[in-house]
Amino acid sequence: MCGIVGFFDKSGGPAPVGAAVLAMLTALSCRGPDSAGIALWGAEADGVVVRVNPGDGADTEARRREIVRRVSRLGRVRVSAAQGSLLRLVVAKAEPAELALAIEAVAPDVEVVSMGRRLEIVKQVGAPRSLEAQFAVSKVAASHGLGHTRLSTESRVDLSHSQPFWAHGVPDLAIVHNGHITNYHRLRRLYEQQGVRFYTENDSEVIGVYLARKLRAGASLGEALRDSVSELDGSFSYLAATSDAFGFAKDPFCLKPLIVAETDGAVAVANEEIALAAGLPRGYQAREAGAGAVGLWDRPGGLT
């Protein structure tokens, strides 16, 4: 198992989406206590916001200083602070790929967890309830968000293997996945031959890589989600979002649960309705997404 949740506020925010996603994810805690995380698309930052895993057991402060020293050569560092298990930086202006390379060159276990103008990912080892203590997620206003609580089946339990996964290389694109991608090894070999770096041994990571490549080739998120239904193999319900689009895809055999509710003001998606009840006022209509179904909500005008 694993639990995934998503919440999209149709007004474009800022809305109390952090609180909604946290409540939904906490309601799904029983689907996996190993690690938990939340991705939120908040107001546009004055620069690039980067969340960094400083490495297991490393001297966080020393790593922070070294990262700031290197990043300062690329752009002015407006903010750099440790928060919970992660470092948070706001860099005035920088090319995303260069920025990630500079940060990850500090040490092999340093990893950029998220990057974007709106996207921020927070994650940790352990059940969802401690996300609030570490990151004060419920205070975050956003237009949409994703959450994940993990029951690990194949790969190790650590911060790096926790979800949501940022799609490395594409700012503001992130995913959460419940299920098992059975053509993971084949796709990974193929992508690695083409120079893609994989950060984990978690099969879900390949979804982000897959979508990133589709988007870079010019596809919309909706097109990429639709293609993935036949090009990814296995059992999956996954959610993906960019700054201005939010969607889901479900495998053609309908092997993993995904319940969707849309109201006048919001869209809430989760494995179980128990999470929808925690995120939406009563009166919504819940329905299970069909085999091979794709859903997409976007806002062409972007956030206001």
């Binding site: 055999f253 309908c254 649960p257 319940i259 179980e272 309705e273 128990i274 929808l276 009840a277 009563r282 209509q285 819940a286 329905r287 299970e288 997404a289 069909g290 085999a291 091979g292």
Partner: protein, 229 residues
């Protein structure tokens, strides 16, 4: 009518409270604030009216024998799973595997049913007021399914016996599923069943049954088997 409030209670405590009332001979029970939690009102073995005042999670009313359960919301996976007799009515939509493996009784989904509704049914009746998803009636062995709306792909795949009636469009038939028209007697029976639950279906229904080609292995029909697997 006695009330069981789910707030601040574990599922075990909720079900114990329901069962105490059932054992005490209470004829009517209202379950309040269900919050879409799993395994509500399972294994009720008496003729008793239970109403769940909202949505339920997985396996609501499962393993029951005689219960008359109304769910005033949606349900997750496996509503009424393995029921022997009784009635389970869902006012909203149902998740995957509604009425899985039931041996008897009636399950009514007023809204839509998701994938594999009526999987491995061994008797009983499943009525779906709206559309139904992928692989409805998969490996069904006995009983009836009435779908008022459209049916998704792989309808009645690999069924042994039983009948699926579909009022709307069939996206795709499953392996070894065969279509004919419902007879006037069958249509009258469907109409009476729908009327009993205040549902309205179309005038005509198609009848889907097993072609029985998968009953026995025949080397000459290897292609049929390959497709089924």
């Amino acid at each position: 009518m006695k009330i069981v409030d789910c707030t601040s209670r574990s599922v075990r405590e909720i079900n114990e409270a329901i069962r105490r009332l059932v054992d005490g001979g209470e004829p009517e029970i209202l379950v309040r604030n269900p919050g879409a939690r799993h395994n509500l009102a399972v294994a009720i073995l008496k003729d008793v009216a239970i109403t769940i005042d909202g949505s339920a999670g997985y396996y609501a009313g499962g393993m029951s024998d005689g219960v008359r359960l109304t769910i005033q919301g949606s349900t997750g996976w496996g509503v009424a799973e393995c029921m022997l007799s009784g009635t389970v009515v869902v006012d909203g939509n149902a998740g995957n595997g509604a009425a899985a493996s039931i041996r008897g009784g009636t399950v009514v989904i007023r809204g839509e049913a998701a994938a594999r509704a009526g999987i491995a049914m061994k008797g009983g009746l499943l009525v779906i007021g709206g559309d139904t998803g992928y692989m409805t009636g998969f490996m069904m062995q006995r009983g009836r399914i009435i779908v008022c709306g459209n049916a998704g792909p792989a309808l009645a795949d690999s069924m042994y016996e039983g009948i699926v009636f579909v009022g709307g469009e069939i996206a795709e038939l499953g392996n070894d599923a065969v279509v004919s028209e419902a007879s006037p007697e069958e249509r009258a029976e469907i109409g009476a069943t729908l009327a009993r639950y205040g549902l309205k279906g179309p005038d005509s229904f198609r009848k889907v049954v097993s072609g029985r080609k998968l009953w026995n292995y025949d080397k000459k029909e290897l292609d049929v088997w390959k497709a089924a697997f």
